[in-house]
Structures are given as structure tokens and as C-alpha cells.
């Protein structure tokens, strides 16, 4: 022991060298070009018979993997492969994938998961997404969408297009337009979906579809927090109403097309906010929603329009407010009566204001939500009318 202490420096150095020698394994060292990045996954119901819950579900997963091709000139070109595999769980499918894919699959760059409508209607999303949540290689910043028809088709190479834009990434770039159009809904990340699923809240997922050769984001799917399945669709106009109800910062265009009064104009909304006020009287729960917006008049097809006249602007504002209220009413009607799913967050508002009451109704909130009276009010201000005053 004494010898050991005297020589501790030497011993230490020997240890270091030994441990370095041990390390020659380089277990995890794998070069970046030898792995294959999984950028997107499309989940479809397998062809053929539609299985019902309880029976082994059958899924076709399409993996969009990065596969750069080296051209003859020696320059590498970005390109991708789509591989479709059918199995009954996600893990099983990825195990199968390992049998044929060149290079280890790395899903750390998984950006988009597109679930086909059919699958979402029949499959419990919590189970379907469990692999991605549990698997440490998938970031929970992955975006989730619902695909109309065949999810696989969304990921297909667009032959008419020049270059090799990767569809899984292209979808995400479309979403950047969300402050231009009120009809766009931001996809939910795995983190948000995880939160909603864990707290049994209903939520919306945007729907993507292939129209001709183009990927189009349109409509939204309602996922019930109770059954964790898709229960229905709301159309783009209703997405408008939803965004007014939620009132997150952002904006978009409000188009009004009133033939009767000959009021055809568009307002660019640059500020919107909403306030959900719950009221509890005895056992009676009700809500007030106050929506407030500010915008710019950017187009009108009105004869003798005179933006310098305040009365004219007030007329437009009133018309626009009616439109907003209509949009909100229509989405609320669908959510309450048709789907019985609170995707807006009325439950949250109740939880924050009346936590005790919410604890009581928490269990079947979506059912209760269907019958609560909701008052909506809109207040829109036209702040600006561009550089043209009169027609």
C-alpha cells in the first residue's frame, strides 16, 4: 500500500493508459454518412381488411429516409427513399425495417409524423405514438399531422418538381405561413400531444392532403381526449373560428363576402386575443368569450368606398365582427353538439378560475361541455387602411 501511494502518479498514468486501451472499442462511433436519417413517418391502415379495436391492429408505416446519391461528377445530391412496411406495432415495423435498410436508422431527426384519417379514427393515439414518446431517439419536438386518404401519398416524390425537396420537411415550411392565413393550424408537437393525451384533453391536429401534385394543408381533425381517437373534421372556415376562440398571437386574413349588402372586403388581422370567462352558479356552468382583434383594411370591392369616413369603417367593422361571431358559433356548434370535444380549452379556463368545481366535473368534462351555454362576443378595430383613401 505504501508503495502504491508513493507511486500513485505512475499508477494513475498507467490507469489512464489502460482505460484508453479499453476504449479502443469506440462503441458508439459511427460516421454520419453511414447511418440513415429517418425524417418522416407516414402511418396508414394496411391495405385490405379494416381491423377493429381489440383485434391485432395492422399498420403500414412509410419511412422517409435521407439517402444522398453521389452523381457521376462526384458531387453528392440530397435525395430520399421511401420504405413501406406493414406490421402490427411501430417497434415491430422498425425491427423489420432493419432487415432491409442500409445503415442504422436514426430517428433523432424525425420531423413529421403523418397519420392517415382512417387509422386515426380506429387507433388509440396514445398507443400509436407510445413508441415515439418512449424511444429516446425521437425528439418530442416531432410534428404530428393527420393525412387525408393515404398518408403515404403525401410523402411521395413530386415528379413535376425540380430538385429533391424532401416532403417531410416541406410540410413544415408550409406552416410558416400561419401568420398570413387564419385557416392554417400549427401542427402539434409530440410534447403538446403528449400533454393533451396525459391530461385527457381533446385537441386539434391539422390535416394534410395531396391535391394533384401539391401538398396542401387544409381542415383539421378533432381528437377526443377521452377515446384518444379522431372523432371528426372541422373545415378551414371553422379553423378560422377556432383560432379566434384560442386567440393566440398571430394573425391572418379575414375575408368577408357579403353579396346581399354588397360588402366584399378583406382585413389583415395583426393582433388578436381572446378571453374565456367561466361562470359557476350552483351547478350551472357557463362561459363568456370575448374576442378582440385589430387589423388593416387591405382590399375592398365596395362602390364609393371612403376610408376617410369613420362611419364607413364602423360599418365594415360591424360586418367583420358578425362574420367572426358566425365563425366561432359554427365551430362551437360542431365541437359541442357533434363531436363533444373541448379542444379550445374551456376546461382549462374553468380549472384555473374554479379549481374545486373543475375537480368535480373533470371526469366527464367533454360530456358536460356539450351542454354548457357559451356566449361569444367579438370586437374588431380597423386601425389602418393602407395608402389608398378613396376609390
Amino acid at each position: 500500500m505504501r508503495w502504491f501511494l508513493k507511486r500513485k502518479r505512475n499508477i494513475f498514468i498507467i490507469y489512464l493508459i489502460l482505460s484508453l486501451a479499453l476504449l479502443t472499442g469506440c462503441w458508439d462511433n459511427r460516421d454520419i454518412e453511414e447511418v440513415s436519417f429517418n425524417l418522416g413517418i407516414a402511418l396508414d391502415q394496411a391495405d385490405g381488411d379494416i381491423k377493429l379495436e381489440g383485434e391485432p391492429p395492422v399498420i403500414t408505416a412509410t419511412f422517409q429516409n435521407l439517402a444522398p446519391k453521389v452523381t457521376i461528377s462526384g458531387q453528392a445530391e440530397i435525395d430520399f427513399d421511401n420504405i413501406s412496411i406493414t406490421g402490427n406495432t411501430i417497434s415491430k415495423i422498425s425491427t423489420e425495417l432493419a432487415l432491409l435498410n442500409p445503415g442504422t436508422i436514426i430517428s433523432q431527426h424525425l420531423k413529421t409524423i403523418a397519420i392517415s384519417e382512417n387509422l386515426a379514427r380506429h387507433m388509440n393515439l396514445e398507443n400509436l405514438l407510445n413508441d415515439f414518446q418512449r424511444n429516446i431517439n425521437t425528439r418530442i419536438s416531432t410534428n404530428i399531422l393527420i393525412a387525408k386518404g393515404n398518408a403515404k401519398s403525401v410523402f411521395e416524390k413530386n415528379l413535376g418538381e425540380k430538385g429533391n425537396a424532401i416532403p417531410a420537411l416541406k410540410i413544415l415550411r408550409i406552416i410558416d405561413n400561419d401568420d398570413f392565413s387564419l385557416r392554417l393550424l400549427k401542427p402539434a408537437t409530440l410534447a403538446i400531444v403528449g400533454d393533451r393525451l396525459a391530461s385527457e384533453q381533446s385537441f386539434l391536429l391539422p390535416r394534410v392532403q395531396k391535391k394533384g401534385n401539391e401538398i396542401v394543408l387544409e381542415d383539421a381533425a378533432v381528437i377526443s381526449g377521452k377515446t384518444k381517437k379522431m372523432v371528426g373534421l372541422i373545415n378551414s372556415e371553422e379553423v378560422n373560428g377556432f383560432r379566434w376562440l384560442v386567440g393566440k398571437k398571430g394573425g391572418g386574413r379575414l375575408n368577408i363576402f357579403n353579396r346581399k349588402n354588397n360588402l366584399i372586403f378583406t382585413i389583415q388581422i395583426f393582433h388578436m386575443s381572446s378571453e374565456i370567462i367561466p361562470h359557476v352558479r350552483g351547478n350551472q356552468i357557463s362561459f363568456d368569450v370575448n374576442v378582440y382583434g385589430e387589423g388593416t383594411l387591405i382590399e375592398d370591392w365596395i362602390e364609393n368606398a371612403d376610408a376617410a369616413d369613420n362611419r364607413f369603417l364602423q360599418k365594415l367593422e360591424k360586418e367583420a365582427e358578425q362574420k367572426i361571431v358566425y365563425q366561432m358559433r359554427s365551430v362551437l356548434y360542431k365541437l359541442q353538439k357533434q363531436f363533444r370535444a373541448d379542444v379550445v380549452g374551456f376546461g382549462e379556463a374553468l380549472r384555473i378560475k374554479y379549481p374545486q368545481t373543475f375537480q368535480k366535473v373533470k371526469q366527464n368534462w367533454d360530456e358536460m361541455f356539450a351542454d354548457v351555454p357559451i356566449e361569444v362576443h367579438a370586437d374588431l378595430k380597423i386601425r389602418n387602411y393602407g395608402v389608398k383613401i378613396k376609390k
Binding site: M1, L5, S19, L23, W27, A191, I352
Partner: protein, 368 residues
């Protein structure tokens, strides 16, 4: 050498040392462990509560230290409680530190397994870690304190940076309402918060090395307050970003928070690598601290050279860290050592304080 290394620490060094020991595994698991108790988003109040409770016990520790300002806990415990009982308490304290060290090692290998090196054997990861640690521990208490001085600011800055970035997923709805269900959930969450602040009792030992012992109380307040504030920020950011219900389902919620957003357009899109890097450094300081103090304890109890124990304890830590079978047992190990720590702090310290006070009282009345 002109300046013979004085074995004394400045006030800042002492505070940073203690804080570095406190910040360890708790950083990653804290939002979950507290929420498991509260089931409401009120956990940050639990942290405040735990901090206040510990401040009281911190005061007791300071009072106890004042009886023997130049001796460590290991040295004065036998003097106060008698040789057998005192050394028994010392052994329990050392056991706590050994378990803490093993827990940090195991936590480290678990997290690096999940997030960094999935196929590298744990043994290799841990052995290299221990070698680096021993290199530092051999230098004695001064280099350890200096390392803490350098690493802690880096940690705090990096954490502040990545948590600020997480503001984009922050939803204030998630942390409201404040105490909606009354005080009861807050109380239920306190044990989880208490476990995360363990480590402040190192002042029992560090006091002997302080240059200005009058500042001990300030150090104690800082080393409970700064981690508490740090934890509150982490808690609020994580619950606000991921939602309370989801946090309950995640093993390392703080890390998952960073994995839940990507900021495109800046050089780095993903920020968990920063957090992992500084977190490994914090685990390192915690490990080095407890390893050194455990060796010091043995050395001061037996009067033998500390080197024997530094080299002797390293394999022991390694072996204990290999015992838990899965993550659940790892977390259980964390609970066990925290309970031992609570015994030392909540039972042994007040008892020793009482006996010391009585002895002093008796001896002074004897003199009269």
C-alpha cells in the same frame, strides 16, 4: 512555494462548493418528483417551503459549528456524543455520502446511456469518470473548491440560457392556478423538494476550512437560497412548457423540455447538448465533493492517510452504483440516501447541539 497553500476557503468558494454539491441528479428529475407529491402545479411553493424548513436546520448547523469552529463534524462528534455514539453517527453520515456518490455515478451512466452513448459499457464511462475525479480529489480541498468556482457560474449561465429559450413553448396556463386546491398539495410536494436540496449539510464539514467563519451563516443562506431559486426556475419552466400531466409521465422532464422545441435559424437548433454538458459537470462536482468528504471522514476517524480512503472508496462507489437493477431502483436509492441525510440533519444535529449546550452549561456552572 512561497505561498504555502493555506487550507482555507474564501467565503465565495465555500458557498459555491455547497451549491455545487446540492445541484446534481435533482436538476433533471425534480419537476417530476415534486409533482408526484402535489398533483397540482404548485410545486414551486413546495420548494420555497423546503428552503425555509432547511434554513431553520441550517441555523442549527451553524450553531453547532460554533462550539468547535476549527473542527469538522467528524472530529467534534466523538467529542460531543462520546467515542462510540459519535463515531456511529459519523459512520452513518459517511454511509450517506457513499450512497450519494454511487447514486450520482449510476444516474450519470443512466442518462448518458439514454441520451449520449447508448452502447458504450457503463463500466468504461464510470471508470474514466472516477479517474478524472481522483485526479482532482488528490489535490485536496482547495482545487475542488476552485473547480466549483469555475463550473458553477458556467452551469448557471448555460441553464439560464437554455431555459430562457424554452420560453417559446412556455404556456402560463400550465402553472395556474396558484394553490387552487389549497395548501394540502403543497405540503405533499415538500418531501420531494426536500430531497432535492440535500447537500447543504456539508457546511458541517466545510465550516472548519472557512477563512472567515463569521460569514458561515451567509454561506448557509446562499447555499440554500440559490439552489431553491434555481429549482423554482426549472420547475416553472418545465411545468409551463410540458404541462403537469405530461411531466408525471417523463423520467427526466427537464431534459425533455429542451427536446420539445427546436429553434431554427440560429446556429444551434437543439440545445440539450449544452445542458447535458454542464449537467455532467455538476454531477462531477457533486461526486467529487462527497467522495472527498467521505474519505476525509474515514481519515479523521481513523487518523490514517486520506489517500488510502480515496483509492479505497472509488471501487466501492463503483460496486454500489452497479447494484440497482433498473431506473426505479436507482430512484429508490436516491430516496434511501436522502432519508439517511435527513436522519443526520434532523436528528443527529439537534441532538448533538443539545448535548454540546448542556455540556457547556454544566462545565461553566462547575467552574463557578
Amino acid at each position: 512555494m512561497i505561498q504555502r497553500q493555506k487550507r482555507q476557503l474564501t467565503t465565495i468558494q465555500t458557498a459555491f462548493f455547497t451549491i455545487s454539491i446540492i445541484l446534481g441528479m435533482g436538476v433533471l428529475t425534480l419537476p417530476r418528483t415534486i409533482t408526484e407529491g402535489t398533483q397540482t402545479p404548485d410545486g414551486w411553493i413546495s420548494v420555497i417551503l423546503a428552503g425555509i424548513i432547511f434554513l431553520v436546520w441550517g441555523r442549527l448547523i451553524i450553531l453547532l459549528n460554533r462550539y468547535y469552529p476549527d473542527l469538522t463534524f467528524f472530529q467534534y462528534m466523538p467529542l460531543i456524543l462520546g467515542k462510540w455514539l459519535g463515531n456511529l453517527v459519523n459512520l452513518i453520515f459517511i454511509l450517506y455520502m457513499i450512497l450519494t456518490a454511487s447514486y450520482q455515478l449510476r444516474g450519470l451512466s443512466a442518462v448518458t446511456f439514454l441520451y449520449l452513448l447508448p452502447t458504450t459499457p457503463d463500466m468504461v464511462k464510470i471508470l474514466i469518470f472516477i479517474f478524472v475525479a481522483i485526479y482532482l480529489i488528490n489535490g485536496g480541498i482547495i482545487p475542488i473548491a476552485r473547480i466549483c468556482e469555475i463550473l458553477l457560474p458556467i452551469t448557471l449561465i448555460v441553464f439560464a440560457f437554455v431555459l430562457l429559450l424554452s420560453f417559446r413553448v412556455f404556456d402560463p396556463q400550465h402553472i395556474r392556478p396558484v394553490m387552487g386546491l389549497g395548501i394540502e398539495p403543497v405540503l405533499k410536494g415538500t418531501p420531494g423538494a426536500v430531497l432535492a436540496i440535500t447537500g447543504f449539510e456539508m457546511m458541517l464539514i466545510l465550516n472548519a476550512y472557512m477563512e472567515q467563519k463569521k460569514q458561515a451563516w451567509k454561506v448557509m443562506v446562499a447555499s440554500i437560497a440559490i439552489p431553491s431559486v434555481f429549482y423554482i426556475v426549472i420547475y416553472v419552466a418545465t411545468i409551463g412548457g410540458l404541462g403537469m400531466d405530461q411531466v408525471l409521465t417523463l423520467a427526466f422532464p427537464t431534459l425533455e423540455l429542451l427536446r420539445s422545441y427546436e429553434i431554427t435559424g440560429i446556429l444551434f437548433e437543439r440545445y440539450e447538448s449544452f445542458m447535458l454538458a454542464v449537467w455532467i459537470m455538476q454531477i462531477f462536482t457533486t461526486y467529487v465533493g462527497v467522495h472527498y468528504f467521505a474519505s476525509l471522514g474515514f481519515s479523521q476517524m481513523t487518523g490514517k492517510n486520506i489517500q488510502y480512503f480515496i483509492y479505497g472508496l472509488a471501487p466501492l462507489h463503483f460496486l454500489i452504483s452497479a447494484i440497482p437493477n433498473n431506473l426505479n431502483e436507482v430512484f429508490k436509492l436516491g430516496d434511501i440516501y436522502s432519508c439517511i441525510e435527513l436522519f443526520v440533519v434532523l436528528v443527529a444535529v439537534p441532538a448533538a447541539l443539545g448535548v454540546a449546550w448542556l455540556k457547556k452549561r454544566l462545565s461553566s456552572s462547575w467552574k463557578k
